[in-house]
Symmetry: C2
DNA sequence: TGTACATCAGTGAACGCGCGTTCACTGATGTAC
DNA sequence: TGTACATCAGTGAACGCGCGTTCACTGATGTAC
């Protein structure tokens, strides 16, 4: 006998998810700090007051969106970091993975890029927290790499943060080129790859 | 006999500037897409309708703020780029200049970081445009550097953009540490310097 | 299995409020002679 | 220098509208026996 959610709980989760999805859609053309609760419920087709059964405020909903958007990034980062092959191969694979992620989750990427420095303090804090976790994960992986022998802990964290920021930059570039012709998107991939390569070259010669 | 603005023109400019200043202040705690015209005029102490004598909308005011904020960056970039000395000296000087700029223009820096990926299309476009100009300037300067011999035009532009993005990242880090104790701000400067150094090392070995 | 009661996600009316925009206006500044 | 008219930055009343939040409610789902 398997455990299933009660009908009530299942329906509640469904509505909650609908609110998150609707908000994410609306946030493609505005910032969280101007998102209205009524806008969101109207989109979903529930009464404005239903909103309060799930979130205290749109800021609260924003924090939930951070979990959703960056939660899906964790596995991707692990894949990139665990990737085998020489430096150039790993970079190409990473850029490819980022491009795919942007294609499949454009609204999530836009949301994070927008609200990372956005006007809602609690959401900014949530994003910073998640990104710090990512950087920590990357740092741990870097530590295991023989190339890192002799590096200080601070420098490893510096590099990890640089990679994380670069990942976001790359994602943001792909996002801007989403509607563009293939040629343009390939140019973006080319530039992103070059940036990563330059950083990797710097890494290899860091201790000289 | 020197040319002065008429009294009327001078007063108009003064009000316009007051609107810009008030908006910039209000934008420390929200995004442009939620900034209200009445908020701004209330802050300045003029009637809401006076706003229309200067701007069509808050988005329009935002574009004016971009010019103001990034206009003041042009001379700084030229100073950094024209700076003499070896690589490490130039990097230290650049980080120092950025730190100073953030201290003297925190609201401008916050505005650009926030609205670069923000919810107002015309403002995003204005920022992208200015940043592209910066990258072009940096590229021209890089081209003149002997280190760049043998580099393709695309790679020079890639590097220029990387520097510009890094400059903004650094500024944003300093901004978050503005209220922090000196020790913390020095740590930020240290990390920013290391990032720049790693990129410079990558640059030096790019053609190997 | 059936019954009686408890829970609680979603409702709908109502509220006071601030919003962006319009309009005709005022009075100081500018200009022509 | 003085006068008569034009310009135009800022005013203040008015508008219709959508906002966030409160409240008592309903009725399907859950639970105890």
């Amino acid at each position: 006998m398997s455990h299933t959610l009660g009908i009530r709980q299942a329906q509640k989760q469904k509505t909650r998810q609908a609110l998150l999805d609707a908000a994410l859609g609306l946030l493609e053309e505005q910032s969280l700090s101007s998102l209205g609760l009524r806008e969101v419920t109207r989109e979903v087709g529930v009464a404005p007051t239903a909103f309060y059964r799930h979130f205290r405020s749109t800021a609260d909903l924003g924090v939930a969106l951070v979990e959703e958007a960056l939660g899906s990034l964790h596995p991707m980062i692990r894949t990139i970091v665990a990737s085998a092959g020489d430096s150039d191969q790993r970079i190409e694979r990473a850029v490819e993975l980022i491009a795919r992620h942007v294609e499949t989750h454009p609204a999530h990427v836009r949301f994070i890029a927008r609200e990372r420095h956005g006007g809602v303090q609690s959401v900014r804090a949530a994003i910073q927290g998640q990104l710090a976790q990512f950087a920590e994960e990357v740092k741990v992986a870097l530590t295991k790499d023989p190339v890192s022998y002799g590096w200080t802990d601070d420098d490893l964290l510096m590099l990890a943060n640089l990679y994380v920021d670069q990942m976001l930059m790359t994602a943001s570039l792909f996002l801007d080129a989403l509607e563009a012709p293939l040629e343009e998107r390939q140019r973006v991939a080319q530039v992103a790859t070059s940036r990563m390569r330059l950083i990797s070259i710097g890494r290899e010669h860091w201790l000289e």
